[in-house]
């Protein structure tokens, strides 16, 4: 099902690209404005991504220009310890730790922009449930309406790294 969705999106991109010669004309003011807005939006997101203050902006369901992937995991380790543990794991992973909030128990990590990826913001929050901790992950793309499943894969990789780090 997921592959079908990817194929459909790929076909849609090909169709839009194929039709571009009909609607793209040199020096067309409308297209210039749209291009300017897209670049501006990208730069704006790039500037504000490195702070937890804009968490709601990136993770909001109304922000249609970023793709979100949410996941939860329960650990039988106290919240304070789990918080420190995840920071340690992120520092040894492909993610870059950007900001932590010890009062709110929130972490922001980012993946860098590469040829394969526009980059993503990973927000992790911790909720205590007795002596256990519920970790809530939300991965938001920086500038991508559709994700090809990379955020899901990155969260799975990070969870695997957390699991393997519990073998000391």
């Amino acid at each position: 099902m997921k592959n079908l969705k990817h194929i459909f999106i790929a076909l849609l991109i090909i169709v839009i690209s194929g039709l571009s010669s009909y609607y793209l004309e040199p020096n067309n003011p409308i297209m210039m404005t749209i291009s300017f807005l897209i670049i501006g939006f990208f730069i704006f997101n790039l500037i504000i991504r490195k702070t937890l203050s804009f968490k709601n902006y990136f993770t909001s369901q109304y922000n249609l220009l970023t793709t979100k992937f949410r996941s939860e995991k329960l650990y039988d380790i106290p919240k304070e310890l789990m918080f420190e543990k995840v920071i340690e794991v992120i520092n040894n992973s492909n993610f870059k730790l950007v900001e932590t909030d010890k009062d709110k128990f929130e972490i922001l990590a980012i993946s860098t922009i590469t040829f394969k990826s526009w980059g993503e913001n990973l927000y992790i929050s911790f909720e205590a449930e007795g002596n256990e901790t519920i970790m809530k992950f939300c991965s938001a793309t920086l500038f991508q309406i559709y994700s090809w499943g990379k955020n899901e894969k990155n969260i799975t990789n990070l969870l695997n790294e957390i699991e393997s780090s519990l073998i000391i």
């Binding site: 380790i77 310890l81 420190e84 543990k85 073998i167 000391i168």
Partner: protein, 67 residues
């Protein structure tokens, strides 16, 4: 849980802080705290070996089976 970790007891007996043990063993304090609470998934022989060496004790002093 059937296996009880008595690391805190051994640390108290040796009058050693967790941070000190962490430096001697080369395992982070976070990992040792998780081990102390018995929440780790597994412990490597090499880690156990280092802990026993640092605390001058036997594995049985740290790990105990309780029914």
């Amino acid at each position: 849980m059937a296996i009880v970790v008595n690391l805190d007891v051994m640390l108290a007996k040796r009058k050693m802080k967790l941070k000190e043990l962490s430096e001697k063993v080369g395992v982070s304090t976070v990992n040792l705290s998780i081990l102390k609470q018995g929440k780790v998934k597994a412990i490597r022989f090499s880690t156990l070996d280092s802990i026993c060496l640092a605390l001058d004790c036997q594995p049985g002093d740290i790990l105990e089976y309780v029914e």
